[in-house]
């Protein structure tokens, strides 16, 4: 498990030595692919998970996607971003899996319904205080968030996953999903509000032990 410190720099600008590593792999030093892919493993896994919503399937699809990336490394253009290229491969793999399992048709019906009818009003909070960071550590809150993200309609979850989970920029998210930045913003806005609505009850339940730290009544 990795500690919470620096998030993975999924979209770091093409690292100078990355192009060199790719050239060396293509020239025969194939073992270097292990090092090339390591910083992106989580990104690939989360990308396919955002589409498949199943840990075992996502694990397998992520591995296949990375092997595909290895096999077709020669088609990577050096002026592109390696991360964007990888995300595209990961998404293709996950979508193919959905099609193979005939789950794609079902998803698109769900999306059409959700696109126009969602409730995009945030939830109000009564007696809100800035919650202590310790409260964010609660397992219950993490689990609620995982569930809420998994339950987002596909259209919103894909955008949310790239932008907020993997910390892509709006532009990078738009490129990876082949859509306009304006649409990314609209979907992101809705996804964030949907999550806020679902999670407010958990955010407000600050355990009593955390109150009264600043001289207040215990």
């Amino acid at each position: 498990m990795r500690a919470l410190t620096a998030p993975i720099c999924a979209m770091t600008k093409a690292k100078p030595n990355e192009a060199e590593t790719i050239a060396r792999i293509l020239a025969g030093e194939k073992e270097l692919f292990h090092d090339l892919i390591r910083p992106y493993e989580r990104m690939v896994y989360l990308t396919v998970f955002s589409l498949l919503k199943n840990e075992t399937e996502a694990e397998d699809a992520a591995q296949i996607a990375i092997i595909n990336a290895y096999r077709h490394l020669g088609s990577f253009r050096l002026d592109a971003k390696f991360s964007t290229w990888l995300v595209t491969i990961a998404m293709n793999e996950a979508r193919q899996k959905l099609r193979r399992d005939k789950r794609a048709a079902l998803e698109s019906i769900e999306e059409t319904v959700e696109e126009g009818t969602g409730d995009y009003t945030p939830a109000f909070l009564t007696d809100w205080r800035e919650i202590p960071l310790e409260a964010l550590e609660r397992k219950e809150l993490r689990e609620a968030l995982q569930k809420a993200v998994t339950e987002l309609p596909d259209l919103y979850r894909q955008v949310f996953s790239l932008r907020d989970l993997q910390e892509f920029s709006i532009q990078e998210t738009a490129e990876a999903l082949n859509m306009k930045p304006g649409l990314v913003k609209v979907r992101l806005r809705r996804a964030r509000i949907m999550l806020q609505r679902k999670l407010v009850p958990f955010l407000q339940k600050t355990p009593p032990a955390h109150r009264g730290w600043f001289g207040g009544a215990r």
Partner: protein, 85 residues
């Protein structure tokens, strides 16, 4: 321009991303100074995003990396080099 709460909610996501016009940003901040409801919505949304980006919230399955590199190793044994197509 004086913004009401509904307008502010529409901007919260872009405000967090720092992608609203400076003039609108000023209006939002002026509104937030006196509106506890919108401040609470902004704070709670921000907290959710902090938690989302925390790597402990969405973890890669245990052993994922090891299995992946074993599989890659097998692939490398079979193939001489990645294809150049």
């Amino acid at each position: 321009m004086k913004l009401d709460c509904k307008h502010v909610w529409g901007y919260i996501s872009d405000y967090i991303d720092d992608s609203v016009d400076p003039a609108v940003r000023e209006d939002i901040e002026r509104h937030l100074e006196h509106c506890e409801i919108c401040s609470a919505i902004l704070d709670s949304t921000r907290n959710i995003l902090i938690l989302t980006a925390d790597e402990r919230t969405f973890e890669v399955p245990v052993g994922f990396s090891e299995k992946l590199h074993r599989r890659l190793e097998e692939e490398m044994k079979e193939e001489r080099t990645p294809d150049e197509k």
